[in-house]
């Protein structure tokens, strides 16, 4: 039984490979008969030279939805289940906002792959959302979820800690063929694919209240926006106390951030004249704190602050992402919500378009899962075209799936337009930052500027920036 399914899977794979040029690339023929119980044998198809040859670049597309493949996957899952008492026990981590929706997906997954040979026991846990999942998995990989949603900037740390599984051959081609190029790229490191792209909106842009800012010109320049908002007795909110949001200033000023996964070295050129310009620009807007500008979310976090601000009418515009779209619409009415790229800010002596971090939310499979095939199938299912469309309909999150992106409804989404406008200025975070960047107090420095209302001397700023760099680049 065990051998049979393995052989079937292997056959699919062989067929797949025959269809591509890869077949002749020195791959060991996969039709040896492995048994699932010995780990050495199940690595049957992998050889060191095979590993170097194959990447995310040239893989065949298998139709995972076709009945034969589904049947083969079921058999493979049955093997995994029989080795673990007949039950496929999986844990999924997602953010608590997504909890309900992901649960419905899991439910339909169970129906689709239902089989008499095994039972599903899949729990969806919402304690660790995309922001925390990576670090929580790293804290103790063996205890982490089998399938977890996370932000692409955590990928390098997870790969480094060997806590995340590579994407199976079976799924790789499919994922690559059906998702946008950028989204596939952020899921790979050094040519190896590690995750399934889920949404393309893990970046930020600006939501604003159309009653305050009537035309697009009103939202073009940060200083003007602050004046307008102040006149209306409201605030413009950019969370300078958070390293993810304030990085836009550094990028706009010309700083770079990079991470070398081979030497595990994180760098950030903040201690340069450009960095000082960025810090001064933050000082400049922070001088308006309390009169039209709000720069810190305090401990309740950006999301709660934005929701609170729009609900009680103290906020006119906020730099935030799609996940707050529904809440803002609810607070001020859908017709009043506008979305745009970030405004320009006074950096150096001129108005410069603010940059941003742009990223993807992606789904990974734990390297220590007991049910690799089931987990990968679930991860695939959570991110396939239908799920992405449903997610957009339900949660307003922008898909990465090509077909989904092309649909009219999504094309005309104002948030997507804003994201696309911001795109030239958005920096991919996946390969440029590691956890070392986030655990340095990048946000704390911005927070200091806000608290001081921008009254900081150049020397103070210089020292702060130097400290930041020391911390970011520390071993």
């Amino acid at each position: 039984m065990v051998t049979k399914t393995k052989r079937a899977l292997a056959l699919i794979l062989t067929g797949m490979m025959a269809a591509t040029a890869l077949a002749g690339c020195g791959q060991t023929s996969p039709n040896v008969t492995p048994s699932a119980s010995t780990p050495a044998a199940s690595g049957s198809t992998s050889t060191s030279d095979g590993e170097s040859q194959q990447g995310a670049s040239d893989v065949a597309v298998t139709d995972i939805e076709d009945a034969g493949t589904i049947e083969t996957l079921k058999s493979a899952m049955a093997d995994e289940a029989s080795a673990n008492g007949g039950t496929i026990k999986l844990e999924v981590w997602c953010s608590s906002d997504d909890g309900k929706f992901e649960k419905t997906l899991v439910k339909s997954f169970k129906e689709k792959y239902n089989d008499s040979r095994y039972k599903f026991d899949i729990s969806v846990k919402t304690s660790y959302g995309e922001d925390k999942a990576g670090s929580k998995i790293m804290e103790s990989p063996k205890d982490g979820a089998d399938v977890f949603n996370f932000a692409d900037d955590q990928l390098s740390t997870l790969v480094q800690g060997k806590a995340i599984a590579e994407i199976g051959q079976l799924f790789q081609g499919n994922v690559k063929a059906n998702n946008t190029e950028d989204s596939v790229a952020v899921c790979s490191i050094d040519g190896t694919a590690y995750a399934f792209p889920k949404t393309s909106d893990n970046g930020y842009f600006m939501y604003y209240d159309k009653r305050v800012f009537k035309t697009e010109e009103d939202v073009a320049e940060l200083d003007k926006m602050i004046e307008t908002a102040n006149a209306a007795g409201k605030n413009v909110f950019i969370s300078l106390g958070n390293g993810w949001y304030n990085a836009g200033f550094y990028f706009a000023a010309g700083c770079t951030i990079s991470y070398d996964s081979a030497t595990k070295k994180q760098t950030a050129s903040f201690n340069t004249p450009e960095g000082l310009n960025a810090a001064k620009a933050m000082c400049h807007v922070s001088q308006k704190v309390g009169s039209g500008f709000m720069g810190s979310a305090g401990q309740s976090g950006e999301n709660a602050t934005v929701q609170q601000g729009f609900s009680d009418g103290t906020m006119a515009a906020a730099v935030i992402g799609t996940w707050m779209g529904p809440a803002i619409k609810k607070a001020i009415g859908e017709e009043n919500v506008g979305a745009a790229k970030l405004p320009t800010a006074l950096i150096g002596d001129q108005q410069v378009q603010l940059h941003s971090f742009g990223g993807y939310k992606i789904v990974g499979v734990n390297a220590f899962t007991k049910f690799p095939i089931a987990a990968q199938t679930l991860a695939y299912y959570l991110t396939n075209a239908d799920s992405q469309k449903a997610r957009y309909a339900e949660r307003g999150l922008i898909p990465t799936n090509k077909a989904a992106v092309e649909s009219d409804e999504i094309k005309n989404d104002p948030a997507l337009k804003a994201i696309n406008d911001q795109k030239p200025y958005a920096h991919a975070q996946g390969q440029s930052v590691s956890s070392k960047f986030w655990s340095a107090n990048v946000g704390g420095f911005g927070g200091d500027i806000v608290t001081a209302k921008g009254n900081m001397s150049d020397a103070d700023l210089q020292k702060g920036l130097q400290d930041l760099v020391t911390q970011i680049e520390s071993e």
Binding site: A40, S42, S48, K142, G298, Q308, P372, S439, D448
Partner: protein, 510 residues
């Protein structure tokens, strides 16, 4: 100096005395700390020494059974007609050797592997790695999930270190049993020589309810402490000498011994880490002083107000304050955090944005004030109890001498309470150094400027330790800080211990 000498001093002298005895106590306390640790090891070694004392003598003078028990445990007891006991000893020996053969030896050898080759750390010179083979993974092409190819030989540094310590502990225990075995064999031989019958197993077991009752009572607590307190502490102390951090985290990677490098980092060699450490240490001490004395002084004043003779509804007042103390701390502190947040609670209510918790100076004051709110009811409760104990005739004679209320307070009440509660005060001081809750729930250690290494301006050593463990996986640094906090607390506790009469009574008692 006893209480009578003490009351005869002026207030200034009294406070001076207290302060000088507190700070004067620090240096001797450090000495005493090392003395106690030394004494502990001395007693440990003397226990071992006692075991050896007569080790040779017993062997030379014992009979064949005694001699045999040096190799085969329990042989002496068996030959001296103590079958039950003999079998137990024998079982212990068999069990130990089976344990070592199947389990212990592996970890003794793996704890310090040299010349290991690890694909992940090319060109690295290793100086004692915990474990010899990191997992080598190859992916399964079908699923992409990495499979460990060397599954039978793969090592997990955590597990090896833990089991190593466990093996050492078990060996120490076995050694103690072994010595007991030789002693017991010799003792029963002597009894036989005198022509008496050695004590039977049943009678010997009965001793555990009487002469050896302490063994019975302490057995379970000691085993639990060894497993869940001593073992983890030893483990953590070892971690301070390794490079266990985010880049060397099992099960994916191994970590290895680095000697005192982490201590050097924290204390002087890494400017950012050592400066952060210095700043946090200073703030920890400042916080502890303020948190302790504000609570203490205002608590006593509150108790005096409530307990003033003419004040009615004493029970009501007291209960009102006790309610605050009784609500679980994490609830009251979280409520305070939301009340004082920059965008929540009072600031929304008033339409303001005071940075109670987000500006370093504000935050430092806020945590101390909130700590007063949390702590004053406790001090009030305790000093209320003490106030009842002050002999009424002291006040009586003071009144006859024409002292007014204020004088009575400075001359009688305060000195009495201060004298009596000094140990409590110092315990509270040590408690405040470790006061995790107030800081963690209120500010989370923030605000965090760039110059602090993974910490914030209201972080105490212990909250920094927590962050390093939980958020940034700097386990090695966290362990160093843990050891340092231990040293501070130990000094504080020893001052209490030395100053409190209770300990002196205890000495006389034993």
């Amino acid at each position: 100096m006893d209480y009578l000498d003490y009351v005869q001093m002026t207030t200034g002298q009294k406070i001076g005395y207290k302060i000088s005895s507190f700070f004067g106590g620090i240096i001797p306390a450090i000495g005493t700390l090392f003395r106690i640790i030394g004494a502990f090891f001395k007693s440990l070694f003397s226990l071992i020494g006692n075991g050896f004392k007569g080790y040779g003598y017993r062997f030379a003078n014992g009979d064949a059974g005694t001699k045999l028990s040096y190799i085969i445990m329990g042989a002496g007891s068996l030959m001296h007609r103590q079958v039950g006991k003999g079998l137990l000893f024998l079982a212990a020996e068999v069990a130990y050797f089976m344990f070592m053969a199947n389990f212990g030896m592996t970890y003794l050898t793996k704890i310090y592997s040299t010349n290991v080759t690890m694909s992940d750390y090319p060109n690295m010179i290793f100086n004692g790695v915990i474990g010899s083979e990191a997992p080598i993974k190859e992916k399964d092409m079908l699923t992409g999930v990495p499979k460990i190819v060397n599954v039978d030989t793969v090592d997990d540094s955590n597990r090896i270190l833990l089991f190593f310590i466990l093996t050492v502990l078990v060996s120490i225990a076995f050694f103690a049993i072994y010595i007991t075995n030789t002693k017991s064999a010799y003792a029963s031989y002597e009894v036989l020589k005198e022509g008496k019958k050695p004590i039977g197993t049943i009678d010997e077991l009965k001793m555990f309810l009487d002469e050896r009752f302490h063994v019975t009572l302490l057995a379970i607590p000691v085993v639990l402490l060894l497993l869940f307190t001593v073992l983890p502490i030893l483990f953590t102390i070892c971690i301070a000498f390794t490079n266990y951090d985010i880049d060397h985290q099992p099960p994916g990677n191994l970590y290895w011994w680095v000697g005192f490098a982490n201590f050097a980092d924290v204390f002087y060699s890494n400017p950012m880490k050592s400066e952060t450490f210095g700043k946090i240490l200073v703030w920890t001490l400042v916080w502890a002083v303020f948190a302790t004395f504000t609570n203490y002084i205002f608590g006593i004043i509150l108790a005096l107000l409530i307990n003033k003779k003419e004040i009615k509804f004493k029970g009501f007042w007291r209960t009102m304050f006790v309610i605050t103390a009784a609500v679980p701390q994490f609830v009251t502190l979280l409520i305070m955090r939301l009340l004082l947040g920059e965008t929540t609670g009072l600031n929304v209510l008033w339409g303001t944005s005071y940075p109670f918790l987000t500006d370093a100076n504000w935050a430092r004051v806020t945590v101390i004030v909130v700590n007063m709110w949390v702590g004053i009811p406790y001090t009030m409760l305790i000093s209320s109890g003490l106030l009842m104990n002050i002999p009424e005739d002291l006040y009586e004679s003071a009144r006859i001498d024409g002292a007014n209320a204020f004088q009575q307070f400075t001359k009688i009440t305060f000195p009495y309470i201060f004298f009596v509660t000094t140990p409590y005060l110092i315990t509270t001081f040590v408690g405040n150094i470790n006061n995790f809750n107030v800081i963690f729930f209120l500010t989370g250690g923030g605000p965090s400027p760039a110059s602090y290494y993974k910490a914030g301006q209201t972080d105490l050593l212990v909250t920094w330790l927590y962050k390093l463990t939980v958020n940034t996986s700097d386990f090695n640094l966290a362990a160093v800080i843990g050891i340092f906090v231990f040293v501070i607390c130990a000094c504080g506790s020893l001052i209490t211990f030395n100053m409190s009469k209770a300990s002196k009574n205890e000495e006389e008692f034993s």
